[in-house]
Symmetry: C2
DNA sequence: CACCAATTTAGCCATTCCTCGAAATAACCC
DNA sequence: GGGTTATTTCGAGGAATGGCTAAATTGGTG
């Protein structure tokens, strides 16, 4: 999960995921969309792969990357849920019990 | 938006946001929840503030931070939407070239 | 086998990031 | 004013990140 957020921190990588949303593409095809070198793109693919956000499949001499949408979905939805985002829930103080548990060692401020 | 994802890339900062979801807290109260120094926490607050994810209000000698949930919500939902996540939509090919925004000039590869 | 095409690995450099202790601010209190 | 508290700014170190070129790898083809 931390790996996913780290992966999402770079604009190039986010864009790669977006391109991959439409259809699987080879490393070369993806690289054509960006103004950086192939090795640099390769490094980005590695980050995405290690975050389990994409999957590589070798076809002949080229490598096709495919988006693992469910992984992205799980992380995004899971995180959003913590904040009551997207679930038409208003959340903010309703988790009362939970809120208290985090403040127990905070009393001594002044 | 890039700033938001950069801010979310660090576990400490994500946790700060979670703590702030329950209620506004002072810098000191927040710092008590983490095993790092105050200056380090202050740096994290700066990143979150520059991403517009939190808001600072000075009260006497201390500074209270408050989560700007709507900003987080907009970014998360906006990004998820590009992938058809969370909207019970299956999407795949509809947002086609709309996703351009961040990296334009791409054509020239070799 | 020799050659070409697609990708990755290796090595390097510059920048950014996370962390710290020490010092500077800012606001309060006696 | 002097002292204390809360927080930030400063300066620095070490690790991670993103970029490149050159070289290695892998697979297909004449």
């Amino acid at each position: 999960m931390n790996a996913v957020f780290k992966a999402l921190a770079d604009p190039t990588r986010r864009r790669v995921l977006e391109l991959l949303r439409e259809q699987p593409m080879t490393a070369g095809q993806l690289a054509e969309h960006f103004p950086v070198s192939r090795p640099t793109m390769s490094a980005h693919f590695t980050v995405l792969r290690e975050a389990d956000l994409i999957e590589a499949r070798k076809i002949g001499t080229s490598i096709t990357y495919q988006l693992k949408l469910s992984v992205l979905e799980d992380v995004l939805l899971g995180f959003a849920q913590v904040f009551g985002i997207g679930s038409s829930e208003r959340a903010a103080g309703d988790v009362s019990d939970d809120a208290r548990s985090q403040l127990h060692q905070a009393g001594r401020s002044r």
